[in-house]
């Protein structure tokens, strides 16, 4: 299984929990069952490298080009989005949804307002590498659940997050604001 974390390596994204879970799932194994990949850079890069030292199945790539992230996403089986504060709407989360990936996501902020547990994503508590390791183990052994999560996440993006739909919402907001100003007689000459 390929397990991917992509994003800035900062507290807000909590890559450390990902590395801790990866270590836990790799300890005492001659041939680890999973390959863990972290793509991104930030102030926690060195800490992540130190934690992953000696584990051949944990790769920390640093910052990579968007095309490379796309490639990693295509080859990933499970994607992890682990912010302790808010996951919506991280570009990497949306990318994973668009790529029909099974997503493990921390249940923080507005996450469960939009994403349903075991329907769009597998939701876990924040800052909890034990829960993450357990979720990875669960999904790794359930092909059908991974497929179903990926399909539902993809459908969510198609239905709610298309650029056409959102740009139109922004257009409407601009038009309404413009009309309101014209109605109030604000000078627009300059």
């Amino acid at each position: 299984m390929n397990i991917l974390f992509a994003g800035r390596l900062v507290d807000f994204k909590d890559p450390v929990t990902f590395v801790k879970a990866a270590r836990l799932l790799s300890q005492n194994m001659i041939e680890p069952a999973h390959r863990f990949v972290i793509a991104g850079d930030g102030e926690l890069l060195e800490e992540c490298r130190k934690l992953a030292f000696g584990y051949k199945n944990i790769s920390i790539l640093g910052w990579v080009k968007p095309e490379k992230v796309d490639d990693l996403m295509i080859h990933a089986d499970i994607f992890c989005q682990l912010s302790p504060y808010e996951n919506l709407w991280a570009s990497t989360l949306i990318s994973a949804m668009k790529h029909k990936k099974a997503i493990i996501c921390t249940n923080v902020g507005y996450t469960d307002t939009y994403l349903t547990h075991k329907y769009h994503a597998f939701l876990i508590p924040p800052n909890n590498h034990l829960a993450l390791a357990e979720a990875i183990g669960f999904l790794a052994n359930d092909n059908e659940m991974r497929r179903m999560l990926g399909e539902n996440a993809y459908a969510f993006v198609q239905e709610n997050l298309s650029v056409e739909k959102i740009a139109n919402q922004i257009r409407q907001l601009l038009l309404q604001s413009l009309q309101a100003r014209q109605g109030s007689g604000v000078d627009r000459r300059v």
Partner: protein, 146 residues
């Protein structure tokens, strides 16, 4: 609608916000709006008459409440720009309440911004706590990125 879209860091591959902004500009054009992109760089702050370029537009749309927003907000507050002034916040520009620079940009920009569009639902509360009155949420269109 004629939109002047101010975007900082145009061409910087690592910067997701500028990529998202250009995608939005393209989509607004597809939907029939007239959109011109005004790339903003730090050198531009010494062009004191740069606000004149907005004369032929209905609306000034600014990506991120950063230096670019604070800069043009000063012109708006001085009455040199009287167009509809709309900023899009992607989060990092308003979340860090302990960052002095971010706080300064927000303090300067807030009175000038007629509408703040936020792309995360939690940002509505954060923006209101910062004193923004007219805040609207739309989801992120990052699905259009590669």
């Amino acid at each position: 609608m004629r939109i002047a879209f101010v975007i900082a860091r145009v061409g910087e591959e690592r910067n997701v916000i500028q990529r998202l902004s250009i995608v939005l500009a393209d989509e607004l054009k597809k939907q029939g709006e007239s959109v011109d992109i005004f790339p903003f760089s730090r050198k531009g702050i010494f062009s004191f008459f740069s606000c004149r370029k907005f004369r032929n537009y209905d609306c000034v749309l600014i990506s991120n409440v950063g230096l670019q927003c604070a800069y043009f907000s000063i012109f708006k507050r001085l009455g040199l720009v009287k167009k509809l002034f709309v900023a899009i916040s992607f989060g990092s520009d308003i979340r860090a309440t302990r960052n002095k620079l971010i706080n300064l940009f927000n303090r300067i920009s807030r009175p000038a911004i007629d509408l703040l569009i936020v792309v995360n639902p939690d940002l509505i509360v954060i923006a209101k706590n910062r004193g923004y009155k007219n805040v609207q949420y739309v989801p992120s269109w990052a699905s259009a990125l590669r």
